[in-house]
Amino acid sequence: MFDFADFGYDFATNRLVVGGEPMVLHCHHYNCFLQRSIQDAEYIDSAPILVGAAAEVVFAQLTNLLARTPDVAARKALVESLYRACGLGLIDLSAVTDRGGQVRTRSTHYSIGWKEKFGTSRAPVAFFSTGFLAGALAAIYGLPLSGIEARQTACRSTGADEDVFVLGRGPANFTIFPPRQNAVLIPVGKDAEPSTSVDRAAITRAVAEMPLPVNSEGLIPAFGVYVTRIYANYYNRISYAFEQEMTALAGREGVEVAASLFIEAGHVCAFFTLGGIMVSPEWDALTLPMLKTREDWFHGITAWWNACGYGVAKVLDVSPTGATVRIYNDYESVGYRRMYGTADHGICYLVTGGWAGVMNLIYLGDIHRKPDLTPEFYDRLFKGGRAFQGRMTACQAMGDPYTEIRAELAEPGAGERRLEGARASA
C-alpha cells in the first residue's frame, strides 16, 4: 500500500518528492479554477494538454515507484492506493489489462469538486484522472506512453451517476511533452527576518508530518475544502503549455490575459485553502496560541505554507501596508526551468496571487475573527478597490537567486479599480 509517510518531507527545501515527482497541496477550488481558466480559451484544444500533463508526471513517477514490484496485481494495488492517498478519489483497475479497459467510479476529485464549485458541467471535466490512468496503464505494463489512448466517457459533474474512463492501445490522443531536464535547486540564503513569537520551524514540521485523513470516497475533506496532494509539475505543465499557446496566438497580450487569470487562481488558493486553514481547529491547536499580532498571523500561515511542498518562504518584512516574501525553489520556477529553460518573463503566478491573498485575509478580511469563507466574502475581499496587490520583484525561473513577492496595499482613486500584474519582462 502506498503511504506518503514513507517519503520524508525535506525540511531543507520544503519539498516532498515521491518517485522523482514533487507533490504539493492544493484544493478543489484552485484545481477547478485553474482548469476552467485554461478551458475558457475554447479555440485552444486544451484537453490533450490537460490529459498529457497528468500522464507525463504519473508515468514518470510510477516508472520509478513500480521498478521493484514485478507483479501486476501488486502494481495495480499500489497505483490504486496512491490515487486514493492523493485525495483523487477511488479507482479499481481489476478490469484493466495490457490492452486497456474500462474504469468506472463514483468518486473523482475533479468531478465532485467541479460540480460543488461551478454546478453542473456541460462536458466531462476529469482530465487529470484520465491522464493519471493513461500514465498508470503504461507504467504498470511497461508500455510506451505514446501508445496509450485514454478518454472519459461519463462524468458525475454532468449529472451522470458515475465517471467512466476508457483506456486502450493506439497512438496517444493527448500531448506527449518533450523530456524534462533534471531539477536544479538553489541553496537557501540566510536572510534576516523580523522577530516573531511564532515558532515557524516547529509548526512546519508538525504540519508536514500531520496525516491527511482520506475518507471512504478517497477524498480528503479538510479545512472546509477537498484537499489534494498532487504533482507540482502537472500544475506547471498545464499553466505554461497554455501560456505558450496563448503567446503563439496573441503574443504579449495573450500572456498578460493568461497571467491575470493564473494570479487570480493564486487568490483563490489563498482564500479557500490558506483561509480555510486559518479558521480550522488544527490552526487553533497548533498555531493560535503563538499569535499576538496580525504580523504573527502572517508568520503563522507562512509556516503552514512551508509545509505544503511549495519551497522555502521567508518573510523579509510585513506590516499593515505590505509584505515582502522571498521564496527559494518555488515549485513554479523549478518546474518551469526543467521544462522550458530560463524564462524571459516572470512566471510565478501562484505565489504572486497567493501572498497578496494572504495579506487581504489578514489585514482586510479580519481572518482572526473566523469569518465564513463564502464566495460572497471572496467577492467583497477581492473585487473591491482597496486590496493588496502582488508583484514579482524577483523570479528564480528568470535566473534570479530566489523568487520574491511584494504585496502592497493599493488604494485606487475614485472610479479606478485594482489592476494586479506580474513582472512582465527581464
Binding site: 480559451a41 487569470l261 487570480e264 487568490h267 473585487k383
Partner: protein, 84 residues
C-alpha cells in the same frame, strides 16, 4: 455606434472577480483577427466609444452572459440611432 463598455461593467459588477479577463480570453481569437488590443486596463480607462466589428460585439455579449451566468440585460443591448 454600440457602446461595449457597459457590457464589461455589467459583467464586472455581476460576475466573478476576473469576469472581464475571462471574457477577453474567450474572445481573444476574434480580437487578434480584427487586430484589436483590448485589456482589462484599457477597458477600465475607456472614455470614448470604441468601434468594434459586429461579430466581435456579438462574441463579447455571448461571453459576458456565459461568464456571469445570465443573459445580458436588454437595456445594455439597445443601440443609439445612427446615420452611419
Amino acid at each position: 455606434m454600440f457602446d461595449i463598455k457597459p457590457i464589461f461593467d455589467w459583467a464586472r459588477e455581476n460576475g466573478e472577480v476576473k469576469a472581464v479577463d475571462r471574457i477577453l480570453v474567450k474572445v481573444m481569437l476574434l480580437l487578434i483577427k480584427n487586430k484589436i488590443t483590448l485589456t482589462a486596463a484599457t477597458i477600465e480607462r475607456m472614455e470614448t466609444r470604441m468601434s468594434l466589428p459586429e461579430e466581435l460585439i456579438s462574441a463579447i455579449v455571448r461571453a459576458a452572459a456565459e461568464v456571469v451566468g445570465k443573459p445580458v440585460p436588454e437595456s445594455l443591448l439597445a443601440r443609439e440611432p445612427s446615420n452611419v
